[in-house]
């Protein structure tokens, strides 16, 4: 028995090179683990700091009251309402255009230079700085189309900016429907659009919804594109239509943390907490929804 063990020991004896490689590997893995932990830490730190410092100011009154005394007291209700307006209108514009654009790219477009240019345009649309989107919104919607600084101008700017999010995730959802589903439908004599309408879209609707939810979280958090197109520093009334200006959570956080003197510390913290909470919960919903769908998929 011991002879066998000794022999096997002799056969698998690690050379100095192997040992060095192994210890190098252990070191590398340790460094990589450290790096990845370094990325989790700020997330936890940020959330817990905002919760710790924002919680004291958090109350139902803070959520449901308007800011008073030059925004140094009171709540953030108009900002919450304004963010809902902006997100709702931008979603109503971006969702249909984005979904149909993805349908075109996945179901109609051939593999040619036109498609390449469209994809390049989408990449660039996502890559244009948010402040350049804002300049575009000012030039095109506020001035050229005469919409003025309004919810409409701001929402259209947001819609174009977040379009790539919807296109990308809808494309992924459509691509996950097997080609066999379409072929079965075509064989039965259905046209291309009938196939899309009755087979492809119903089978990918939940994936599309995930992308739409992501768009909401992105639109709710943006500040630069709405600064000059429709978001106001302070408004004494709630918006009545898309032609009014509005306050917004992101803009309000910017205002109370940089523009207004003598704001009690808890107010910006609580505002940041509400904004982060809104964006994170929407995002987490989308992530959980997506993983549920993936686990449930039968094909």
């Amino acid at each position: 028995m011991s002879a066998v063990r000794e022999q096997s020991h002799a056969v698998f004896q690690a050379t100095a090179v192997t040992l060095a490689n192994r210890s190098r590997e252990r070191f590398a893995v340790r460094v990589l683990t450290l790096i990845t932990t370094l990325l989790i830490l700020p997330l936890i730190a940020i959330i817990s700091l905002l919760v710790a410092k924002g919680a004291p100011a958090m109350s139902l009154e803070f959520l449901l009251a308007a800011p008073v005394a030059g925004m140094t007291a009171g709540g953030i209700f108009p900002a919450i309402v304004g963010t809902l307006w902006l997100v709702g209108v931008s979603l109503a514009v971006a969702a249909p255009i984005g979904i149909l654009a993805a349908v075109y790219l996945n179901e109609y477009a051939g593999d040619n230079w036109v498609t390449r240019i469209i994809n390049l345009a989408i990449v660039n649309l996502a890559g244009v700085p948010s402040i350049v989107h804002a300049l575009f919104g000012v030039g095109a919607f506020v001035l050229f189309l005469g919409m003025g600084t309004s919810i409409l101008s701001a929402s259209l700017t947001l819609a174009i900016m977040t379009l790539p999010v919807i296109i990308a995730s809808t494309k992924e959802a459509l691509a996950s429907v097997p080609l066999a589903f379409r072929e079965a439908c075509w064989v039965l004599g259905a046209s291309r659009w009938q196939t899309i309408r009755h087979v492809v879209l119903p089978n990918s609707i939940s994936g599309i919804l995930t992308g739409v939810i992501l768009q909401v979280s992105r639109a709710a958090g943006e500040t630069a594109p709405i600064m000059f197109t429709g978001a106001a520093f302070y408004l004494p009334f709630l918006p009545q239509s898309v032609y009014d200006q509005c306050m917004a959570l992101s803009m309000h956080l910017f205002t109370v943390s940089t523009q207004v003197p003598n704001v009690p510390e808890a107010i910006p913290y609580a505002t940041a907490l509400v904004l982060l909470g809104l964006v994170m919960s929407v995002n987490l919903t989308s992530i959980l929804f997506r993983s549920y769908l993936r686990s449930r998929r039968k094909w």
Partner: protein, 298 residues
């Protein structure tokens, strides 16, 4: 068989397919529209009065001077470059390291939850990052470095670095995932460790994809507006140390657009900066896209 379908249904189908096509091409339309309207809003100034040498080569940005208005963006370019460089010094090792770790050294629920963490990190709005720069990083930097002000290149660079990490991780991980498993198997079968496989096999094989990830991180850092506006201070100057305050191209537009008279030279000069930013990010994105395409072809 075709006759069984009513002609109105056929027309409706033609209409909806036309609409789908239109939406498909809309992205091209929007990119052109963005360039057109930004250029057009500053066209009078850009075409007639813009001194390109001064615009790109002078560090004197005095748009509100009464006697001698000067529109030099060199200091703003230096602001953008310094903050972006520092951000990349942080984001590239962290981002690529995390991409390698997530892609090659984890599996199962650990991998999935790490990806969720990265996604949540990406979801933090830029105004919240800016607020963290002001409320948390500012006092920390003042204390640690005994600096007069904590809103500077260091603050903005760290914030921007953390903001750029998620995009580098997700694109980088895609690039590593695109390397066929047979490469890994061959390397392991030769007796290489997993770490040797990473830097001897996967890095060369995924080179263009990883480079694209870094470039997209750069584009993100150049284009970020609100966070750097809040975290870098408001000093138009070429920085000499990370503790100097600066102002970037994007922050200048955001800070000054609201205070200028519509149609004035100053107002139009801000749109000229917008055109410059459009071109900068367009080029970086174009190169990144070509690299991604090349890595997919392999």
């Amino acid at each position: 068989m075709q006759a069984q379908r009513s002609s109105s249904a056929a027309y409706a189908e033609i209409a909806i397919e036309a609409l789908i096509r239109l939406c498909g091409f809309s992205a091209i339309l929007f990119v052109f529209a963005i360039f057109f309207f930004v250029f057009w809003s500053g066209a009078d100034f850009i075409i007639h009065r813009l001194d390109l040498v001064q615009f790109l080569g002078s560090e004197q940005w005095y748009p509100t001077s009464i006697s001698n208005k000067r529109y030099g963006t060199l200091a703003l370019l230096a602001g953008t470059a310094s903050v972006t460089t520092l951000a990349m010094l942080i984001a590239v090792p962290l981002g690529l390291g995390a991409a390698v770790f997530i892609s090659e050294f984890t599996s199962g629920w650990v991998k999935e939850s790490l990806k969720v963490v990265i996604e949540l990190l990406a979801a933090i709005p830029s105004v919240v990052w800016g607020f963290i720069g002001i409320a948390i990083m500012n006092p920390v930097i003042i204390k640690l470095f005994d600096a007069p002000i904590g809103l500077n290149v260091l603050n903005g660079g760290i914030i921007l670095g953390l903001m750029s990490v998620p995009i580098i991780v997700s694109i980088g991980e895609d690039a590593l995932k695109a390397v066929p498993d047979s490469y890994r198997e061959a390397s392991i079968a030769m007796g290489a460790t997993r770490w040797q496989t990473v830097y001897k096999v996967l890095f060369p094989a995924a080179r263009s994809g990883l480079l694209a990830a870094v470039l997209l991180g750069v584009a993100r850092a150049i284009g970020e507006t609100i966070a750097v506006l809040m975290a870098t201070g408001h000093a138009v100057q070429i920085p000499h140390s990370p503790l100097d305050s600066v102002r970037t191209l994007t922050a200048t537009i955001a800070a000054e657009l609201g205070e200028t008279a519509r149609g004035s030279d100053h107002y139009q000069a801000l749109f000229a900066i917008g055109v410059l930013l459009f071109f900068l990010t367009f080029c970086v994105n174009l190169i990144a896209d070509l690299l991604v395409r090349e890595s997919k072809r392999k």
